[in-house]
Amino acid sequence: MSGSLFVQHLFNAVTLGSLYGLIAIGYTMVYGILRLINFAHGEVFMLGAYFVFFGISLFHLPWGVAVIGSIAVSSLCGIFVDRIAYKPLRSAPRISALISAIGVSFLIQNLAIVIFGGIPRPVARPDWLVQVMKVGEVRIIPLAIVVPLVTLALVLGLLWIVYRTKPGLAMRAISKDIETTRLMGVSVNKIIAFTFGLGSALAAASGIMWALRYPQIQPFMGLVPGLKAFIAAVFGGIGSIQGAVIGGMLLGLIEIMAVAFFPQLSGYRDAFAFVLLIIILLLKPTGLMGEKLEDKI
C-alpha cells in the first residue's frame, strides 16, 4: 500500500473512531453512575441526525442553528428516557432497568419508523465539507479533519465539566458511593439527569457527523454504531471516559485498517468489532483503562 493511501485510510479511521468514541462516552458515563447499559443510547444518535435533517429541510434553519438545536433536543430526549424508563426502576434489580433499556431502544426505533418513515433519506451536505482536497498525493475531504477536531473540542469540554465543575465532582462521587454523595447535599437524580443530558448531547453530535460522513439517515442507523460504540466502551474500560475515547479510536482503526489491508475481508467488517469484544472479555474483562474492582474498608 502506498504511503498516501495509508494516510487516507488513517484519516478515515480517526473519523470513524471519533464517532464511535463520542457515542461510547455516553455508555460509559451512564454505566459509571448507574451500572446500567443504556441500550437506547444508539437511538439518541439516530434522533440527533434526524433532528438536523428536519431542522434544515422542514424549517429551513441555518446549519449552525439546526445542529445546536438538534443537540439540545436530543439531550432532552436522553433525560426524558431516563425519567420515564430508568428512574422508576432505580431501586429495582439491575436487570429490570436493563430490560427497560432494551424496550426503550425498540420503542424509539419503531416510533421513528412511524413518525419519520422507514425509507432511508439522503442528506444534503454543505459542499465545502466534502470537496476533495489534494495535499500532495493524499486526497481527503475537509470533513475528515472537521470530525476529529470537533470531537477533540467536545471531549476536552466534557473533561473540563467532569474534572473542574461542581456537577462533575458530584458525578465522580456518585459513581463510587451514591449514599454518601447524598449525605453531602447532592441531589442525585438531578446529577443523573445531567449525565444523561451530556451523554446524549455527545451521541447527537456523533449522529449528526455520521450523517454527514455517510449521507443517509434511517431509523435503524443507530443500532450498529451503538453496539460498536458499546464494544468500544468495554474495550476502553467501561466507566472510564478516556477509555471510551481510546476504545472508539482503536475500534475505528482496526475496522478501517483490516479492510484496507485485507480487502477480501470487507464483507466481514462488522464482525471485527464483535470478535474484538469476545477477545477482550476473555483476556481483560476490565478493558484497557478499566478500574480494578476493589473495596477498601
Partner: protein, 239 residues
C-alpha cells in the same frame, strides 16, 4: 434543637427502632450508645433522611429558624437545613482528592468565600489534611480518613453534626484524638449527636446520653451520672 418523637424505623420486615424519644438541646453533645443492632445507626440514618420507611416525628428547630419536621425529607434537603452526618465507616470517596472530598462536603453551598474560609478552618483543625490536600482519599491512613470525614461534615455550615461511630477501627491514641476533636467541634458552636460503641469515651464527653437495646431506650441521663451507674458499668463499661 432536635426532638425525635415516637420514632420507628423499619428495614423491610425488620423493626429496628421501636418508638424512641430523644431530645438534643442546642450546643450540647448528646450520645446514643448500645451494642451492635441496638438501633443507634438506624436512628441517625432516619434523621439524615437515608431511611424512608419510618414513623414518628423528627422536629428540628435551630435558633433563628422555624420548626421543621425532617421525617420524609430527602437527605440533600436535610443537609441544606444544617444537619450534617458523617456515616459509619468514614465513607471517604477514595478516588477524589482530600480537597475534592471537602469541596463535595460543601456541595449545598454557593458562597465561594465562605467555603474557602471553612476549608481553611478544617485545614487548621487537621494540619495533616492540608499536607495531603492533593492526595487521593483512598491513600490516607484510617485515622486521616476519619479526620477527613469529620472535616467534610463541617463543610456544609452545619448546626447539628451527627457522627456515626467515629472511633470505629482506630488505634487507641487516635480514638482519644477523635474525641478531643469532637469536643473542639462542639466548642465551635456545633451541636453534636454522637453514636458510639465506645461507651466510656462517649459518656465522658456527652452532656446527655441514651442507651439503646434492641430498638428501645433502656436508660438515659447525664453522661457523668451514667458513668457511675452500676447497670451501665456492668453492661457497657466492663464492670
Amino acid at each position: 434543637m432536635l426532638k425525635v418523637e415516637g420514632l420507628h424505623v423499619y428495614y423491610g420486615a425488620i423493626h429496628a427502632v421501636k418508638g424512641i424519644d430523644i431530645e438534643i438541646p442546642e450546643g450540647s453533645i448528646v450520645t446514643l450508645i448500645g451494642a451492635n443492632g441496638a438501633g443507634k445507626s438506624s436512628t441517625i440514618r432516619a434523621v439524615s433522611g437515608l431511611i424512608k420507611s419510618i414513623k414518628g416525628k423528627i422536629l428540628y428547630s435551630p435558633s433563628g429558624a422555624s420548626q421543621t419536621d425532617l421525617a420524609g425529607r430527602a437527605p440533600e434537603e436535610i443537609v441544606k437545613l444544617g444537619v450534617a452526618m458523617s456515616p459509619e465507616g468514614r465513607r471517604i470517596l477514595p478516588h477524589l482528592t482530600v480537597e475534592e472530598n471537602l469541596q463535595l462536603g460543601a456541595f449545598s453551598r454557593n458562597d465561594k468565600d465562605g467555603i474557602e474560609r471553612d476549608r481553611d478552618r478544617v485545614y487548621s483543625l487537621f494540619p495533616r489534611l492540608k499536607e495531603r490536600s492533593w492526595q487521593k482519599g483512598g491513600t490516607l491512613s484510617g485515622g486521616e480518613q476519619q479526620m477527613l470525614a469529620l472535616g467534610r461534615a463541617l463543610m456544609c455550615e452545619p448546626k447539628l453534626v451527627m457522627l456515626d461511630e467515629p472511633s470505629l477501627g482506630l488505634a487507641p491514641i487516635l480514638v482519644k484524638e477523635v474525641f478531643d476533636i469532637i469536643g473542639e467541634i462542639n466548642s465551635l458552636g456545633k451541636t453534636v449527636l454522637l453514636v458510639e460503641q465506645n461507651a466510656f469515651a462517649a459518656l465522658k464527653i456527652a452532656s446527655y446520653a441514651y442507651i439503646l437495646e434492641v430498638g428501645r431506650i433502656v436508660l438515659q441521663g447525664r453522661g457523668e451520672d451514667l458513668l457511675k451507674d452500676p447497670r451501665v458499668k456492668e453492661a457497657y463499661l466492663g464492670g
